[in-house]
């Protein structure tokens, strides 16, 4: 028990070092260019490679090129939700304030990438399978993931008092993590129209390296892009909360000093 206590404490201390918003802003500002520019370069390279320089598939022809956007989007939809679940855990157990802000910002980006995954999958399914949509286990579990994202987005903004929204959304975020293994293993546990994974941790990929490389470049590019967008939004959110704190503090001081109404305008010289 003692060991777990100290582990919990140490984990808490580790994360709380980065809970300091000032520290995060400095770290984020340093990190941002290293995320943004590689993301743009790799995504453009991967997309051009996939669209124009990778070979056509033996059974799918050129339609296989949809894979280079669909598969990274699908991976990111799941890993983005895993990130959300970690933020939820940090919020519930350690009351980490930055984790709450991160959960607010990851939600919409994750929902958008899940929508891309579903839409590109549909656009791939129509010419290949002969249908836009089927209710097989893989497609349905990803749709559930999309609704989990939407529920999280709505719940975290649903309360007047933000703390209550953070708490409720964190419970949903953590509980929804149950869907992740279902998505991953759906194609193995049940027979589905969706094909099994080509790339697994255990076996050789059943994919030509001429197609694997552009896929990996796209995946890396999209992942960095996801991180870059989340970090930028999170920095903006931290700054916005500072602005709100400064304004309310000034309003308080304004009330104390003049005892009268104080405009909330930024440039309205409150200290004058």
């Amino acid at each position: 028990m003692n060991a777990t206590h100290s582990l919990v404490a140490r984990t808490g201390t580790f994360f709380h070092r980065y809970a300091n918003p000032g520290r995060f802003l400095r770290l984020g500002a340093r990190l941002q260019p290293w995320l943004t520019w590689p993301a743009v370069a790799l995504s453009v390279t991967g997309i051009v490679w996939g669209l124009f320089f990778s070979p056509a598939d033996w059974q799918q022809g050129d339609s296989v090129r949809i894979m280079y956007v669909h598969v990274p989007a699908a991976w990111l939809a799941s890993s983005g939700y895993a990130g959300l679940a970690v933020c939820s855990l940090l919020s519930l157990v350690w009351r980490h304030p930055l984790a709450d802000l991160a959960a607010v910002e990851i939600g919409p980006v994750g929902a958008a990438i899940t929508a891309v995954c579903l839409a590109t999958g549909s656009l791939w399914g129509k010419p290949m399978w002969g249908t836009w949509w089927v209710w097989d286990a893989r497609l349905t579990s990803v749709l559930v993931l999309f609704f989990l994202y939407l529920g999280h987005i709505a719940l975290i903004r649903a309360f007047d008092e933000p703390q209550r929204g953070y708490r409720a959304a964190a419970i949903l975020g953590l509980a929804g993590a149950v869907d992740l293994p279902i998505i991953k293993f759906s194609v193995q546990w049940w027979n589905t129209l969706h094909q099994p994974d080509s790339i697994t941790l255990t076996g050789a990929p059943t994919m030509s390296t001429a197609m694997l490389w552009p896929l990996l470049v796209c995946t890396l590019g999209f992942t960095l892009g996801f991180a870059a967008i989340v970090v930028a939004r999170l920095r903006a959110a931290v700054m916005e909360s500072r602005i709100r704190a400064a304004l309310s503090a000034r309003r308080g001081r304004g009330h104390a000093a003049t005892g009268g109404a104080q405009d909330s305008d930024v440039r309205g010289g409150a200290v004058a």
């Binding site: 070979p55 399978w129 953590l174 059943t206």
Partner: protein, 178 residues
């Protein structure tokens, strides 16, 4: 700190409980979650003739017969899972990916005479992604006939490039090292 670890244990316990509840539910409904039935399952337990079922399996090589009745094309083909085969009759245009050896899912009813009357046929492509030229080279060298099943072990072809395959096509006498 005890409060924090208590909250951590509580979160873990809740997640574990929820996870096992979900696992049990999915396990109980797993026959409803499967997207299609295999021909051997249809043989073992024929569904009622008015019930729409999905039949999935591989199109048997050499079994496809195409006819035209009036204006509509009619296709007859056998679908197998390796243990049993069911003859499928489908009126309409088959999807682009349809070929012998391809996995398909046919939606329709099992008629009493044993044939399966499909109202829709979906092609199921497998997880093998291979350049056209490489597939052609494998087929020509006799290592793989797509009509009779899955591609050979990925390690034997996944580094073969389009250029290798073309070179192979230029000189058919030269055999691959491995």
């Amino acid at each position: 700190m005890t409060r924090k670890s208590r909250r951590l244990w509580l979160a873990c316990a809740c997640l574990l409980g929820l996870g096992s509840a979900t696992a049990l539910t999915l396990n109980a409904f797993s026959s409803n979650i499967v997207f299609f039935m295999a021909p051997s399952q249809i043989h073992a337990k024929p569904p009622a003739p008015d019930r729409t079922v999905r039949l999935g399996g591989m199109v048997v090589a050499g079994s496809v017969r195409r006819q035209t009745v009036g204006e509509t094309p009619v296709a007859l083909f056998d679908v197998t899972d390796g243990q049993a085969a069911v003859t499928v009759r489908y009126e309409g245009i088959l999807p682009d990916l349809f070929r012998e050896g391809q996995s398909v899912v046919a939606i329709g009813t099992a008629s009493p005479d044993g044939t399966f009357r499909a109202s829709e046929v979906l092609a199921k492509h497998d997880e093998t992604y291979m350049p056209k030229e490489v597939a052609e080279a494998l087929r020509r060298s006799g290592k793989w006939d797509p009509r009779y099943g899955k591609a050979p072990d990925a390690a034997s072809w996944d580094t073969m490039t389009v250029r290798d395959a073309r070179k192979d096509a230029a000189g058919p006498q030269q055999q691959h090292g491995s």
